[in-house]
Amino acid sequence: MTAVSVEPEQAATPVPVPRRRTVRRSPGQRVAGGAAAVLLWGYLLVALVPLVVMVLDSFRSNTDVLSHPLGLPTSPSFDNYSFAWSQASFATYVQNSALVTVGAVVLDVGVSLPAAYALGRYAFRGGGVLTAYFLSGLMLPIRLGILPIFYLLGDFHMIDSRLGLILVYAASGIPFSVFILAAFFRGLPSEIEEAARIDGAGEFRIFLNVMLPLVRPAIATVVVFRFVPLWSDFFFPLVLLRTTSKYTLPVGLTQFFGEFQTNWSALFAGLVIATVPLVVLFVVASKQIVAGLTAGMSR
């Protein structure tokens, strides 16, 4: 908008543009560039300020937060965190979330690796159909099967069980894991494998000792990319878990918000606790996150 209103005026009084060795830019372009910068840095505030408020308010006292929601922590304290951690059972929730998420990702990767290896590297009878069968799961709205999943786990005596949740989560990740890993296996050169075969290594040895070390980057992508949604999932534990001592973070958070409605600073601390592991993961593995996102485009 600014660019449009300013340009005619600029055109009427031509300003001598100093010669520069870099690419010459017209006044109009410079105004557009300025508008773009304002937009980009402006949106940065929109993206970050809510998160900054969340973190700052978690270090303040509740009376402070309720009277001045936008203030800085004048005497920052960890009281809210120790309250959430010990009195509101966040220690338990974090443990359960870690157990369920890690368990599910390990199981998911553990079964997807051999499957992706066979499907990605070998042509065998039924292989194409199996690949299509796995990949169709990429677009399935899995939650719609919640009632049968509920009764199925009931038959296995796994309602209100973290193991039941692990099985469902691991299964829900298989299409994505097989998709990423198979594509990666397919791209590996066959010479190494042939050399190992000539040396007399069996199929399983080749897979375990020769191929697995080569696909480590793809495994990292899968791990990061499955961890994030599972850590935050609320729908399945809401339906499948019953006992507070087994709650994962999202369900625990709901309980917490119901119980301590007016203790805002503690609520903010609870939100931060649920968020920090993901931010750490993002900082450590942003490369894998971008790789996983863009992998979808080659589908």
Binding site: F134, P229, V279, L293
Partner: protein
């Protein structure tokens, strides 16, 4: 590799995926054709469960409203999140300074779960103590403050904005990667031909982004029609009542959960399975058709 060895490699994944994902979905489709009393199947219902969704008051009214809310939610998200995300991605792609930092900062909310985002904004937008209303009165906009989530006229638009804030990192990163992968020559050639920035974007960049736009649109569609957590945390649930002020933010994902686990009529399994079947056909069907459409567009280009 021998056939039996290959099958042995595939078997664990095949079993887990079939038992916990495929079987439940197929079984939900099958359940929708039966009448249920509690958990006991009492007789073949044919299409009765489906018919009841459209005739039984108040479920039929609630379903219709929730469907249109979900459509608005999807269209709004496409407009706000994906076009703005594309704009930001294009602007970022022309920058050298601060590009990676900005990209990472925009994507930060994307990592956080929808439930946490919902609770966070629930506090931020709170009518009495919320920082948003506070900040507005501080800068002299006090007359515009309101209970953003409690007012039927603003509740759904606000939910759309929050959803866009949450997920905008996804189109930014994905379009960013797609833009980085575009061949430089087309842009250079058209610049020589005297095309301006808008013409270059409209006639060169946009068509080349078709695969990325297709992917983002399809995934946005799936996530909007599955949405549950965000609204659950923002609007709270009131037993078996439609969600939000006057049911203003009731979406299909919420009504499905309610019929299956809260409303608990005699035939809850039959009816909720029928809803699941319809949603399944809608989500999967549209995703497959859209996928085919974008692929054809892509093929026409090359």
């Amino acid at each position: 590799m021998r056939w039996r060895t290959a099958i042995a490699f595939v078997l664990p994944a095949l079993a887990l995926y079939s038992v916990f994902i495929v079987y439940p979905l197929v079984s939900a489709l099958a359940d929708s054709f039966w009448t249920w009393e509690g958990t006991a199947r009492t007789g073949f219902a044919g299409l009765d469960n489906f018919r009841s969704l459209f005739t039984q008051f108040p479920l039929n009214r609630q379903l219709r409203t929730a469907f249109w809310h979900t459509v608005i939610f999807f269209v709004g998200t496409m407009i706000v999140q994906n076009t703005f995300g594309l704009l930001i991605a294009v602007l970022l792609s022309e920058r050298r300074f601060g590009k990676r930092f900005l990209q990472a900062a925009y994507a930060l909310p994307y990592l956080i779960g929808a439930l946490v985002v919902g609770y966070l904004w629930n506090l931020l937008l709170s009518p009495e103590f919320g920082p948003v209303n506070k900040a507005m009165s501080d800068v002299g906009l006090g007359s515009l403050t309101r209970a953003w989530l409690g007012d039927p006229s603003t509740a759904l638009p606000v939910v759309i904005l929050i959803n866009a804030w949450h997920y905008i990192g996804f189109p930014i990163l994905l379009f960013g990667a797609a833009l980085a992968g575009l061949p430089q020559e087309y842009g250079d050639a058209s610049r020589v031909d005297g095309a301006n920035a808008w013409q270059r974007f409209r006639l060169i960049t946009l068509p080349l982004l078709t695969p990325a736009i297709g992917l983002v649109s399809i995934l946005t569609f799936i996530s909007c029609f599955n949405a549950f957590e965000l609204v659950y945390a923002l609007s709270g649930t009131q037993g078996n009542q439609p969600t939000g002020p006057g049911g203003a933010t009731d979406l299909l994902g919420l009504i499905f959960y309610r019929v299956a686990f809260q409303e608990g009529g005699e035939n809850a399994i039959g009816q909720s399975s029928a809803i699941a079947a319809l949603m399944f056909v809608l989500i999967f069907g549209v995703a497959v058709l859209a996928n085919r459409y974008f692929r054809r567009r892509e093929a026409l280009l090359t």
